[in-house]
Subunit: 241 residues, 2 copies
DNA sequence: TGAATTTGGTTGTATATACAAGTTGATCGG
DNA sequence: CCGATCAACTTGTATATACAACCAAATTCA
């Protein structure tokens, strides 16, 4: 059922198509091989080739028209609403270099706002990490994160240069829900210094609260310079089912 | 290929499952019939029953575990996508009063950026509307919208105090896709005047491009004062497929 | 010329089948 | 009693096939 590389067949075809698009061998809006052509080329059945095309269409990578063919969608469509996730992924997806710098990692008395958000008592100990994310050596985002010690007792023992908090948390406390608030704000001094921007530079601030099975896990402010960062999204409105 | 009601078979099964969930006949996290049981019940092949389950899983209605079965997911997953919507709806949902003020409604030569976005020629005529949205008499959002005349020839004849452009466009050219970019910017003079904010006030700018069957329909800048507006969202993360 | 028709290619839906992979519970053996 | 094995069932992947729906371009016909 799998090919030589231990991968499912439909996944192999998906990877092939994605690589063709990434290298611009298949430019935007160009027509790509038909289901039958792909089936022949990869020695699979048409249904398997079809599945690869289907999934890429759902992801917004392709669009298809009955009777005509399959085409490369505009590259923006890659990102869905779920693009609101890990900054490291985003940077790497752009083909750029990501680096994380740990500024602070400690336990501190829980501020009031955070207590409400995480369901803790005020001034009860809460874990806190402050990290600067770099894209190609330029500071892009300041991540200030409060973590519920009851849910993630080993948080302070991690090395967040090797693994981002988001990655670590996803591993130990799988996400079930996330709440987001997006705002435009002016940077406070701390943000300004770490992102190396002037005080007049507007920033996009994402306030994120994440939940796992057991309840609220973390509460984070993710602040980025407006001139360097934008939030992109693609919405596919499905015809009524 | 279709059943008596002119519906595809897999759609019939989806509807059946959804109705069972809606009436709470199948409560949250309960196990639902297997692929084979559904196939027998509806006299279809297993692959067809499977497709219904598959699509509902992608929509977050169900979750499935290999070797175990298919289960009803938590009902949250419904609303996440539509959060980025019409400002008038948002205001009304908050129980506040919405008013629109029409500043400008005209045809003008298409600027370069807009030409690219809408697939028009540069300086070709394009429809343009400028509207201020008020929440309880306070200006909240400035909507600058360019509309493709080929898709919506009667745009200039509308009364956008009674009906927002978004509502009108949804009616005459049903949305199939939408692209969004969210940015933090400082307001230009026009924005500053209409929103009655100082030049130093950061703004949240939503750039939105909408598509219908025939192609790109409209391109809009939706700018709001950072101190008055935030974009809120809830994301339900699906259990592993 | 121009409108109607045919033809070939493409995606969409549906079936029947086979085996792989994973979970659960029963059975068997120590 | 406990552990290992097995059997039954579920979802996951893959194939081969058939026909429907649709589109575009070529062909035919008036």
């Amino acid at each position: 059922m799998e090919n030589s590389s231990g991968q499912k067949k439909f996944a192999t075809i998906k990877d092939y198509i994605l690589s063709q698009i990434e290298t611009a061998a298949w430019p935007e809006h160009s027509r790509i091989p038909s289901e039958n052509e792909l089936a022949t080329q990869f020695s699979v059945s048409r249904m398997t080739a079809r599945r690869a095309l289907q999934e890429l269409t759902e992801q917004g990578v392709l669009y298809r028209t009955q009777g005509v063919g399959s085409f490369v969608a505009s590259p923006k469509s890659q990102s869905s609403l779920l693009e609101i996730r890990n900054i490291a992924d985003e940077i790497q997806r752009r083909g750029h270099f990501h680096k994380a710098e740990l500024v602070q990692l400690t336990s501190l008395p829980c501020p009031g706002v955070v207590a409400t958000a995480l369901g803790l008592s005020r001034n009860a100990p809460v874990f806190f990490s402050l990290i600067v994310h770099y894209e190609n050596q330029q500071p892009l985002q300041l991540e200030a994160r409060y973590v519920n010690p009851q849910q993630v007792p080993d948080y302070l023992a991690q090395d967040f240069v090797l693994q981002t908090p988001h990655e670590y948390l996803s591993a130990v406390a799988p996400l079930t829900d996330a709440e987001h608030i997006v705002e435009a704000v002016l940077p406070d001094d701390l943000t300004r210094q770490h992102l190396k921007i002037p005080a007049s530079e507007p920033c996009l601030r994402l306030t994120r609260r994440t939940f796992s099975r057991g309840g609220a896990v973390s509460f984070a402010y993710l602040t980025s310079a407006g001139s360097r960062y934008r939030l992109g999204g693609h919405l596919s409105i499905k015809p009524k089912t």
